[in-house]
């Protein structure tokens, strides 16, 4: 793609003068049944203000009580990220006013996070980059505002806003990296790979559904540049709530180029919160605040400290499931693939999809073929991630079993897949509805074969005399009369049998 190569060129130019420093804060919405500090349910997409109580609505007098599974999930995330687990830590109040935050403080953790000092290795183009984990802490989500009266629900120009508190109080674990330095031109890909790795880990742990499209994993992306050789980091910008892997990558790339232009022109970077606009691929600055925000953190007096029993932590550690990195190594061997093959799979974001397709019954090779071939082509054309396609691993496995069973040939299968992508149903349903099944009725085929032989006596004679290769013409004729719905191999066998050259 020409835009990609232009961007790469720009990036190379930026990196000839600056080093990039990244910092990523990933918010993971836990999949607990109830909220972090009250017993309200957490079902996604419920009618507005139907999952609220005095506690999460911040009514006068209401008090929080910690969700035990929320704490357990946070510890398990920390263990999976090789963090130390605090022996004793407290919640803290982060004080600021915002209408979707019922108490006008967020119950979070400040200088005593439950998990700290970990690391996560991510692979980018065969290189392993170690990302330091500063901390992972527990907090609560806010409600959701809908802006009315402005252009397409934007905050700017709205006449008023409407608030739904269903999401207020849903447990979050915020995972914060140490500054990531030295990634150079790989910075966008490293950021993407890191967020993908976090997503895969929390999914593997079963602590979150990790649906970026629903906001259950979202990233704040901090980017700064410093002149090559400098020892002090430059001023950073924080792009908030980036909610797809592709957007994470684009955000880093865009900010690197944008900041470099400002610095080149002798300007200064303003420390600010920015937002990524999916449509334009640009980040947009918020209002610059005249005064720095002062959150006035202090220990939450309504919640008592959390002091995880070391024996319990050890149990949780022992019971961790196989993590994605280990699984990758194992499956690579099981699937018999090279490291290069695996990289292609990783780059396409197809690992879990292939794994699930294999689990659904397809062979590894055919699963890989579908996802990296036909489906990657569709995803590229649509500009979406593979996982965002409407086809599921189960669909792919079903499609492959139709091919293996001789009911579809490759060409027909591709057509059926297009139908599945178009939302026409499962592969079997599409096949039936379109009437494209391979003609396996030998009676009908024999008639077609006999007709083809009768129509091409010279060719038939050549075959009889031993020029077996000439049978292709007869196969083609049969395929034509059956509109491609015959299995070429079967047709060929029938022709050869009819002409007595088997």
């Amino acid at each position: 793609m020409s835009t990609a190569s232009t961007a790469t060129g720009e990036l190379a130019d930026v990196l000839s003068r600056y080093e990039v420093v990244l910092g990523l804060e990933v918010h993971v919405e836990l999949g607990t049944r109830t909220k972090m500090f009250c017993s309200c349910p957490t079902v996604f997409g419920a009618e507005p203000n139907t999952q609220i109580c005095p506690v999460c609505l911040g009514l006068p007098g209401a008090l929080p009580v910690v969700n035990a599974v929320g704490v357990e999930s946070a510890i398990r995330i920390g263990l999976a990220l090789d963090c130390s687990i605090a022996e004793w830590c407290r919640f803290a109040r982060k004080n600021y006013f915002y209408p979707d935050m019922p108490k006008n403080f967020q119950t979070s953790q400040y200088d005593e996070p439950i998990c700290f000092d970990g690391a996560l290795d991510v692979d980018v183009d065969g290189k392993t980059v170690r990302i330091g984990i500063e901390r992972a802490h527990m907090e609560e989500d806010t409600g959701k505002s809908t802006h009315v009266g402005g252009a397409t629900g934007r905050i700017h120009g709205a006449t008023h806003s409407l608030v739904d508190f269903n999401r207020a109080g849903i447990p979050l674990v915020e995972i914060v990296t140490k500054p990531i330095v030295g990634t150079g031109a790989d910075a966008p890909a490293v950021a993407r790979a890191y967020v993908a790795a976090i997503r895969d880990i929390v999914r593997a742990l079963g602590v979150s559904d990790a649906r970026m499209d629903q906001g259950s994993v979202r990233a704040d992306v901090n980017v700064s540049l410093m002149p090559i050789g400098a020892s002090e980091f430059g001023t950073r910008t924080e792009t908030k709530n980036v909610n797809s892997l592709r957007s994470v990558e684009r955000t880093v790339r865009y900010e690197m180029v944008r900041q470099a232009q400002i610095l080149d022109d002798g300007g200064v970077i303003v420390q600010e919160t920015r937002h990524f606009n999916e449509a334009t691929g640009e980040t947009v600055g918020g209002r610059t605040k005249e005064t720095a925000t002062d959150y006035r953190y202090f220990p939450e007096p309504d919640l008592v400290p959390v002091a995880p029993d070391p024996a319990w932590v050890a149990e949780l550690r022992a019971a961790l499931p196989e993590l994605p990195a280990a699984k990758r190594t194992r499956l690579r061997a099981e699937w018999g693939l090279s490291e290069l093959d695996m990289q292609a799979i990783d780059n396409a974001g197809a690992f879990e999809l292939i794994e699930a397709t294999v689990a659904a019954g397809a062979g590894p090779e055919s699963a890989r073929k579908w996802w990296l071939g036909e489906l990657s082509r569709h995803a590229n054309e649509a500009g979406v991630e593979l996982s965002e396609l409407s086809v599921t691993p189960a669909h792919v496995a079903e499609l492959q079993s139709l091919v293996d069973g001789g009911r579809l040939n490759d060409k027909l299968a591709r057509g059926v897949l297009a139908g599945v992508l178009a939302g026409e149903g499962t592969p079997t349903e599409v096949m039936t509805a379109r009437g494209v099944e391979v003609v396996s009725d030998t009676g009908a085929l024999t008639t077609a074969v006999d007709e083809a032989i009768a129509a091409n006596p010279d060719v038939a004679e050549k075959v009889r005399s031993g020029k077996v290769a000439a049978a292709g013409v007869l196969v083609g004729a049969v395929m034509k009369t059956t509109r491609g719905q015959a299995d070429a191999k079967t047709v060929r066998e029938l022709i050869l049998g009819r002409l007595g050259v088997q």
């Binding site: 911040g58 006068p60 008090l63 009580v65 004080n95 019922p102 006008n104 806003s161 309504d302």
Partner: protein, 500 residues
């Protein structure tokens, strides 16, 4: 004396027994108190809301439960007044603030639920300083409560309404809350009994938070036994309050009965040297306190002097911790989900409407404390103010822990001065803060404390404060009951008749 007049002169324990035996009914007693409120509350203004028919209906329901043979507690059918800082489902709850004017909570505080479950009848909601910030009820947005002993004087605060209601026989029992003395100081200046249980001993769920780490609900009554009985109704573990202690309520009623025998042999009472040395206590208060200590000695107690060297820093630490927590606790009053909204003319942005709402909805003392707390928590000042105050809190706790290794309870005046005239301490906020000088330490270390009437100074009541170690609430009830047993008649029964 008519039957109805008689009802308002009996103790809660007596009323409970009379209702249980069928001598009278809850409805009859409730009507008697409603009549009394109708007669004198115009002068006293102890109530912000009187439940009226709803109270009678609840009383009749309790009578039905008793008639049906349901086993209820010793206070079943007895009316109770509830400080307007505890949420009552469907009954106005304002915390004496304009910002909650008209709010009807959709839920009951745990304390209120327990009252209802035990068959007590909620008479109404009592006046207080706005959000419990004050020592005189002069900071109520709805006008002050007057002291039944002298209508020109304050009834104490913040829970002046609960104390005055009990003193004026408008309720046999009341619930107060105590963050720095708001149960005990009103008790002292109105000649009633006020007890602050151990922090964590009574659920805070539904108690509109002023300072979460200090707030505690407790009983306000005319006798020590009534206080203990009410304490047992409202106390005990609540899973809705994370700071609630998961242990049985100390046997406080039993301790009160034991103390009533007047024998304190074997009890060691400590008098804190630094309390006595502190400036500002009125001579009449000191004299009444000395006399009370002499009485305790006469009853067999051994009195010794102990030292709490960090006492003088307790008050300043409190006036950093409480405002800091309050600045955060009161942030939720923003005109978005409930209560007042001011200045929303359709053109102003949310931030401005929030600020106008809070400006219009909060009174001067609340605003002062919110700003003080905002300052103490802000970057650059946290360590010097809030952080340092928390360290002082540790030192005060250590002092009292050490003192309780030497003695069973500590005795002190409840407050340095008797009820003062309206307006005499509002000009200088720090002069008002001195009212809590002796009560604050137990809020800081979390232990229980009780104020029991111990005499008069210039014709006005003086309270003796008995402090005990955490979860040893029974000790203070025993000592308080012993002192009370020497008074005939009880001070609470000497309250002058209120003339409307």
């Amino acid at each position: 004396m008519s039957e109805r007049q008689r009802a308002t002169h009996r103790t809660a324990a007596e009323l409970g027994a009379a209702i249980a035996t069928g001598e009278t009914t809850s409805a009859e007693v409730t009507r008697a108190y409603l009549d009394r409120i109708g007669a004198v509350d115009g002068a006293v203004h102890a109530f912000l809301h009187v439940a009226g028919d709803a109270a009678v209906a609840q009383a009749e329901e309790v009578d039905r439960r008793i008639a049906a043979g349901e086993k209820l507690g010793p206070l079943a059918g007895v009316p109770v007044a509830v400080k307007d800082i505890l949420t009552t489902k469907g009954m106005p709850t304002t915390a004496a603030s304009k910002i909650l004017s008209g709010w009807l909570p959709p839920y009951d505080a745990t304390v209120v639920l327990r009252l209802r479950d035990a068959g007590l009848v909620v008479l109404g909601k009592t006046n207080m300083d706005e959000f419990a910030m004050g020592s005189s009820t002069e900071y109520s947005a709805y006008g002050p409560t007057r002291n039944p002993w002298d209508l020109g004087r304050i009834p104490g605060g913040s829970g002046g309404g609960s104390a005055a209601a009990v003193a004026a026989r408008e309720a046999p029992l009341a619930i107060g809350t105590d963050t720095g003395g708001s149960i005990r100081q009103p008790g002292a200046v109105t000649g009633t009994v006020g007890a602050k249980p151990t922090y964590g001993g009574v659920s805070r769920y539904g108690l509109i938070a002023f300072s979460s780490s200090l707030d505690q609900a407790g009983p306000v009554t005319r006798t020590v036994l009534d206080a203990a009985l009410l304490h047992e109704v409202i106390g005990g573990h609540d899973p809705c309050d994370s700071t609630s202690i998961d242990a049985p309520v100390p046997a406080v009623a039993e301790a009160a009965r034991r103390g009533a025998s007047g024998d304190l042999t074997g009890v060691k009472v400590g008098v804190v040297r630094e309390f006595a040395a502190a400036e500002g206590a009125e001579p009449g208060v000191v004299a009444a306190f000395d006399a009370a200590v002499a009485t305790l000695t006469k009853l067999g107690a051994e009195v010794v002097e102990v030292s709490c060297p960090h006492f003088e820093y307790a008050l300043p630490a409190y006036y950093l911790i409480a405002p800091s927590e309050c600045s955060s606790n009161l942030a939720r009053f923003d005109g978005v989900r409930y209560g007042l909204r001011s200045g929303d003319d359709g053109t102003r942005a949310l931030e401005e409407v929030m600020s106008l709402t809070r400006e219009a909805g909060f009174g001067p003392e609340v605003k002062r404390r919110i700003m003080l707390g905002t300052y103490a928590l802000s970057a650059g000042y946290y360590d010097a103010y809030y952080g340092q105050a928390q360290k002082v809190r540790t030192l005060v706790t250590r002092d009292f822990t050490a003192a309780f290794e030497q003695v069973d309870v500590l005795a002190a005046p409840t407050t340095p001065f008797v009820a003062f005239p309206f307006g005499s301490r509002t000009a200088d906020p720090t002069a008002m803060y001195l009212a809590d000088l002796y009560t604050i330490p137990s809020n800081l270390y979390g232990g229980p404390a009780i104020s029991v009437p111990c005499g008069l100074s210039e014709g006005l009541p003086v309270g003796l404060q008995i402090m005990a170690p955490t979860m040893a609430d029974d000790r203070m009830y025993r000592v308080a009951a012993a002192l009370e047993s020497t008074q005939e008649p009880r001070l609470a029964d000497q309250t002058p008749e209120v003339t409307a």
